[in-house]
Symmetry: C2
Subunit: 214 residues, 2 copies
């Protein structure tokens, strides 16, 4: 059974998945890298940079689920590039020639363009589709594996509202952003469909997992 999964989407204690305003120089706006610093100290992250060391505890265990068993990703236009990227035909994402996905990636956009094949197995496809349609398309490309719903906050919220997420992993970072894009708006009663676990890390973040009740 191919699941739709959200892995380590980080939010502030007041529920923002990104700050504002977002730009080429500040992809997360005034949040900067503060929502993701917990990740930079893990062994998983260091390995990706070719560096030794890093923690091997709860944060590392959770962050490794990003790659395990994933056959495709769906991301929003705001994750693929800064405001205005659809006008730049040379834009190929933030991640350089070898993006860290290594699967087909479906970018939700109202401005589709030809697919872009990158190094390392990542191919960006651009589709104008509803959450359900996008999931069907990504699932077909995932070859029996799971589909990662990669964010940002608006995309995850839309997939949750449509009842399409099987497994949700949120990382609550103890900062107050005050403004930006909220994850939880309009999701009253979401907990009824899930088993929820929370686990605090010595790093200060709290891992919250929603697993669809069977």
């Amino acid at each position: 059974m191919s699941l739709a999964r959200v892995q380590f989407f980080s939010i502030s204690l007041d529920g923002f998945g990104t700050g504002e305003p977002q730009s080429l120089d500040a992809p997360f706006g005034h949040a900067g890298e503060r929502l993701h610093e917990w990740m930079f100290t893990t062994r998983w992250w260091r390995e990706r940079l070719g560096q030794p060391g890093g923690t091997g505890g709860i944060d590392d265990a959770f962050v490794r689920l990003h790659d395990t068993g994933i056959g495709a990703e769906i991301m929003g236009a705001g994750k693929f590039g800064p405001p205005g990227w659809p006008e730049d035909l040379e834009w190929k994402g933030w991640w350089g020639p070898n993006p860290p996905f290594h699967t087909p990636v479906f970018v939700l956009t109202h401005h589709p363009r030809p697919s872009i094949e990158m190094e390392g197995g990542t191919t960006f496809h651009f589709i104008d589709a509803s959450p359900a349609e996008a999931l069907e398309t990504a699932r077909a490309a995932a070859d029996g594996q799971d589909v990662r719903i990669g964010g940002g906050a608006t995309v995850i919220r839309d997939f949750l509202a449509a009842g399409l997420v099987d497994h949700l992993h949120i990382v609550v970072v103890p900062i107050l952003l005050g403004r930006g894009v909220r994850l939880w708006d309009g999701l009253e009663g979401l907990e009824k469909d899930y088993e929820i676990e929370t686990a605090s890390s010595p790093s200060g973040v709290t891992h919250v997992t929603f697993t669809r009740a069977v």
Copy 2:
């Protein structure tokens, strides 16, 4: 040194300290008792009801801080009674003849009335004052002990925004209320003034403490 403390104020995962609409029959609106169920299973709560049993773990340890070293409480009008209570001269709070405070309690209201002396050491005083003025008044009455900022969400937020809270204990309950009164609005950067710890309980809630950095 007398501190201003918030003890076990419960919020939903999406940040609401109460649901809506609030009424005599539903003090927390559509939230019902869901924000406080974690507390009902503690030994502390059972003792208050004269019942045996209850858990003696992390939830019980935290909830007992409610009483320790407190000499006065400040609460908002919305905690003292349902909408419209200032028109009811017989209203003496939700808690019966022997309220669980056992200290002076200062109720913030634009409709002051004579103080009410209850059984067990609780006296309700009604004052129309700014957060700083209210804290000064309560501190004078607390006889060297700490002052509890008792809620609701709006009052706690006002005291936080004014920089008046020394110790903040929030309990995050894994439910999504979707609507109600938010605790965190307008508090961008609050974490800069505090040491923050998070601790998940097997009951499913997460205890978050803010201790003012010295």
